[in-house]
């Protein structure tokens, strides 16, 4: 990391590349500092869109995964349209949504939701499918019904899948929010990116990207912490010797 930055800095300084093509790391850092108020101001709506979008996608994805897991009919009927939502090119869809729904929060939530929904559905379903069938049998001999077996066995078993999907979604959401905001908005880091690039303020644009990346890393890390809190049995195992 340090090496890459060093080579980058040296290359830009020595070969005297135009800052329009590639701004030097020190210029990006300077922009990060001087524009801190703007960046902070624009992070707010973007962060809100990302968090709301992931929550929305997560809730819909969990419900869909459970439905698809339990109903073969739902699986056959709904899987193709679900895959279709993933194949829609977001750069085409995002401006359309803005045309239909305006500059508000809703079109952004739809874009983030569409992008984040699918990974959570897929990983949750594979988590549910990987449940030990002998555990399900055992629950039956203990007198558990379908719902009991789901809440006591299948859902906890599938949690690693849920978190894997959520972590994927967190990173994808950051890409999605930029596409959504570039399609039409009057605030947010995606909007700031559009404006700075249009004004050829490349150092400022890079600084904006840096903030987005930092936010993605923070989200990913927080999900990792939540994962360890939610599933202590998986992480304890590494610390105690197998017997």
């Amino acid at each position: 990391m340090v090496l890459v930055l060093g080579v980058w800095e040296a290359y830009v300084d020595l070969v005297s590349i135009s800052s329009l093509v590639l701004p030097a790391p020190h210029a990006v850092l300077a922009a990060l500092y001087t524009d801190r108020a703007t960046l902070w101001h624009d992070l707010e709506p973007t962060a809100a869109e990302i968090l709301l979008g992931i929550l929305l996608a997560g809730a819909c994805a969990l419900a869909s995964a459970v439905l698809l897991h339990f109903s073969g009919l739902a699986r056959r009927a709904l899987y193709p349209p679900l895959v279709a939502t993933q194949a829609i090119p977001i750069p085409i869809l995002a401006p359309l949504l803005v045309t239909w729904l305006g500059f508000g929060l809703l079109p952004k939530l739809i874009v983030i939701g569409l992008v984040c929904f699918f990974p959570i559905v897929v990983t949750t379903m594979s988590g549910l499918a990987a449940v030990d069938p002998d555990l399900v049998k055992l629950m039956r001999t203990l007198g558990a019904g379908r719902a009991q077996t789901f809440w006591r066995v299948e859902f906890p078993s599938a949690l690693p899948g849920v978190f894997a999907g959520a972590k994927l979604a967190a990173v994808l959401a950051v890409i999605a929010v930029v596409l959504a905001e570039q399609a039409g908005s009057s605030s947010g880091l995606g909007y700031l990116l559009t404006v700075t690039v249009a004004n050829l303020e490349m150092a400022e644009a890079f600084a904006t990207v840096l903030v987005l990346v930092a936010f993605a890393i923070m989200l990913f890390t927080l999900l990792g912490v939540a994962e360890r809190r939610a599933m202590p049995w998986i992480h304890e195992r590494g610390n105690t010797q197998a017997r």
Partner: protein, 240 residues
Amino acid sequence: MISLEGVSHSFAVRRGGARLEVLSEVSLQVAGAETVAVVGPSGCGKTTLLELICGLQQPDTGTVRCAPAALMPQRDLLLPWLSALDNASLALRVRGVGRHGARAAARPWFERLGLDGFERARPHELSGGMRQRVAFLRTLLSGRPVLALDEPFASLDAITRAEMQRWLAHALEEERRTVVLVTHDVEEAVLLADRVLMLSPRPGRLIADVQVALPRPRVRTDAAVVALRASTLATLGVNA
């Protein structure tokens, strides 16, 4: 308590393919509070027999009548996210008993089973023998009159297994239940059971039904135990 009449069962090896007969014309009766061991070579349908008793499968032909049975599977199948206490009381929670009530019902058993101090431990923190004891307790606390034990100690090392056999003999003496113990360990059958049923290689048929009229506690080196073990092995076609 348990009654099987002319029970045969087969599996489809592949979907739509030939069927593999695993049990053939098995009839047996088990009285209340009796411990019956079922021994036989691998693949003779022992596990299938237990699943029929537990109602997890329906026989192709014949009838199975049985009081409600709880299964203790070959692997302990403890839930890794629950403490030992919550695993043991799982059946009570399933029946709708509250968390506190279920734990209170299971707690006294931890001391009786030599598990005191490990109530809050997660399964991965327990030794193999302890895990089997928790799994046994979970089966016991299901409140079902019949316990179906499927090779409960097969995965343990020889020393722990001997210890657990002694322990189970003691536990069953204190808490009389109807027990069907499936095992491939003839010595285990002779040590623990009132009756030993022998199955032939696949498809499993009942080839012998031997009363074990030996006093308890039984010791594996006792001459009568050794003799019965030898004759059982001979019946199964193994030269002891």
